[in-house]
């Protein structure tokens, strides 16, 4: 579905990504891990068309998507959420999800149509609000939500696009440790409900990474250190030393 081949990204003389190749197949849940500065966010930005790679190819659904921009990618079936929470502060939860539904259905140019009267938009927005446990706050302005719910809304709005593939940049950051697994369960169940075909996430919490991933890609200094199933990653000494770290006494 999504393939990056020999991707390089330079910021002046600094090499953020150095020959990264990665492919994501249908049905996969892939986690990207790595220490700070490994190039994870740059890779996500390249995969989502926000940044054009300095060299290499990025293909999605057999189309070259290098640098085509988030709008075109969203229409092509790729959605993303952000590491730092991105919401529409003045819009309510429901309006935020309606905006995603409007964009997905290509109804944003309807100047004189009633938003309230658009049953499909209303239904889709409410369905996603319910999937993410936000229905009881659907009329609250996004700015008034607790931080964890803001994060959830950010992710939920990406799901409301009903994409084929979704890229989640630290989906549980800002969520309390006790709630992280709950949030992941919501994500996985929502993914099944809306028919998502693949998930890529950047995540620091190794319990989450090993608990939910089919495959883990470890990045270090802009290069892929390992690309394997969780069990193999766990036993890869280089990954353990540079990315995961060893438990004391372990």
């Amino acid at each position: 579905m999504l393939e990056a081949r020999d991707v390089r990204k330079l910021y002046g003389a600094y090499v953020a990504l150095d020959g990264v190749s990665l492919s994501v197949r249908e049905g996969e849940f892939v986690s990207i891990i790595g220490p700070n500065g490994a190039g994870k966010s740059t890779l996500i930005n390249v995969l989502t068309g926000v940044l054009a790679p300095s060299a290499g190819v990025v293909r999605f659904k057999d189309r070259d998507i290098a640098g085509i921009g988030p709008v075109a990618l969203a229409r092509l079936g790729m959605a993303r959420s952000f590491q730092l929470v991105q919401i529409f502060p003045e819009l309510t939860v429901l309006e935020t999800l309606q905006a995603a539904a409007v964009a997905r259905l290509g109804r944003g140019s309807r100047l004189f149509a009633s938003l309230r009267g658009d049953r499909q938009v209303q239904r889709e927005a409410l369905e996603v609000a319910e999937l993410f446990g936000l229905a009881d706050r659907s009329h609250h302005p996004a700015r008034s939500l607790p931080q964890g719910h803001k994060k959830l809304l950010d992710v939920a709005s990406a799901f409301a696009l009903r994409p084929d593939i979704i890229l989640l940049d630290e989906p549980t950051s800002g969520v309390s440790t006790a709630d992280k697994h709950g949030v992941m369960e919501i994500l996985v169940s929502a993914a099944k409900r809306i028919g998502l075909r693949a998930i890529i996430q950047v995540e620091h919490d190794m319990d989450i990474v090993f608990g939910y991933s089919d495959r883990v890609v470890a990045l270090h200094q802009g290069r892929i250190l390992a690309d394997a199933p969780p069990a193999a990653i766990r036993s890869d000494a280089r990954v353990v030393d540079t990315v995961i770290g060893r438990r004391r006494g372990g």
Partner: protein
Amino acid sequence: MTRSGAAALILAVGAIAALPAIAPPYYVTLMLPFMAYGVVLLGLNLLFGYTGLVSFGHALFIAIGAYTGAVLTTHLAVRQMELILLAAALAAALAAAPVGALCARYVKIYFGMLTLAFGMVFYTFLLKFYRLTGGDEGMRMLRPSLLGSEWSGFSKTAYLVGPYYYFSLGVLVLATLVMWRIVRSPFGLCLQTVRDNPLKAESLGVSVPRYRWSAFMISAVYAGVGGALLATPTGNVDPTLAYWTHSGNIVFMILLGGFSSFFGPLLGAFAFIFLQDAVMSVFPYWRLIFGAILAFIVLFAPGGLMGLLARRRPVEASRA
């Protein structure tokens, strides 16, 4: 809209409609610029309040609308106000298409300064191309016909406080209804996503430059129509219509009324015109007073008059 809000609105429209029967003609004629600016501000607030772009050059489109009316009535013998409004809207849209395409790539101060620059370019054109525009003397705007009648039996004042008043009110009501629909449409929702968070909006597939340009176009059309309405009562159009202080005045009106409320700009236009008239009659340096009011609003009442009213309501309710 709540029931009490709808009732207040119907009451306000009824009061405005009844005004010519109960108020002196002087105050009735003051309502004419209110209604013209009301149309302008409905459009400008789509750009400001709903899309998050502050234009300091929208007087450009007011002037285009006003000069369109003047050219049509004096040079082309077109006197039907309905045609004049259509032509003003079209002329404003034609000018806004390239200006908006350039400006919509920028935000904040850069957008504001670019719009101001285009406004001043047009001001200079109006001032210096004397043979075309009449220079600093401007051009006459002849009395237009309304709804197929020339109202020739009416004196100028009777025409303005009678047929023209109700025609302007009709245009304002129509413009309000259309804008009410626009801001509650899927398009209006997309504009608000652009205002709140362009990065997030783009990630959802909302093309930020396209929506900014579209809002700019609609606001320019409204300004053009408002400009044409504004020209008739004065009977003359001149380059000061495009001057940057005029753009500043309409931004002030929005801030005065409150840009986060749909009806705030209308209240702002009303308060501005009557306040200006009251202050000017007792104190020649009215801008001094208005400067102090603007500072007060920015510092203590960022929601404008509508914000103050909304804040007052729960207090009154709790007292009851």
